[in-house]
């Protein structure tokens, strides 16, 4: 991997007559190799810093996803509780309605029974009276 522009360095060496043309490229390549070697720790440091930054970004994204997930779970629990409460209220209302209906039916039945018994008693009294009067 090149650290500097080897061709440009070679051309500069030739233009300024600093070495024979045949030596310009080896010199430029040699300088590039030495710089590349010297920069290796810096490149590793930059790579490591980039990885750390990437890790921080990913950690923040994961934390945001976790927070969103927890918010969704809380919302679902809240919705479920609300639906459950509604269902319980409806069930209670149905039970109360059933009890009222049953009470109405019982009251009607009691009315009929009292009516029939009263009518029977009245008829008995009437018949007894007639038997006493004319018997």
């Amino acid at each position: 991997m090149a650290s500097i522009d080897v061709l440009k360095t070679r051309d500069s060496l030739i233009t300024q007559h600093l070495c024979p043309e045949s030596m310009a490229e080896p010199l430029a390549v040699f300088a590039d190799e030495l710089l590349d070697e010297a920069m290796e720790p810096l490149a590793r440091k930059d790579t490591l810093e980039a990885l750390i930054e990437q890790w921080r970004i990913e950690r923040a994204e994961i934390a945001a996803q976790q927070a969103q997930f927890m918010a969704d779970v809380r919302k679902e629990i809240s919705d479920f509780r609300e639906e459950n409460n509604v269902r319980e209220r409806e069930r209670d209302e149905r039970e109360r309605q059933r009890a009222r209906d049953q009470e109405e039916r019982d009251a009607k039945l009691r009315g009929w029974v009292i009516g029939v018994v009263g009518l029977g008693f009245s008829a008995t009294v009437l018949v007894s009276g007639l038997l006493i009067a004319f018997g």
Binding site: A31, L34, D46
Partner: protein, 59 residues
């Protein structure tokens, strides 16, 4: 080009250029009287490509 962010520490550049000068002369690739100019060409390339941080002492 190698991906290194920001300017290179001056000490790293100077030590590398000194090594380059020394070894290039030793190999007979550069005449001693022109070595400083050759080093200057390489330094200009480094400066142009990365910049040199003259405040930093890190290597």
């Amino acid at each position: 080009m190698r991906r290194v962010d920001g300017p290179l520490p001056e000490r790293l550049v100077e030590e590398t250029l000194a090594r380059f000068r020394r070894e290039a002369i030793a190999r007979g690739w550069v005449q001693e009287d022109k070595a400083d100019q050759v080093v200057e060409v390489v330094r200009e390339q480094v400066e142009e490509t990365y910049g040199i941080d003259r405040r930093s002492q890190d290597t």
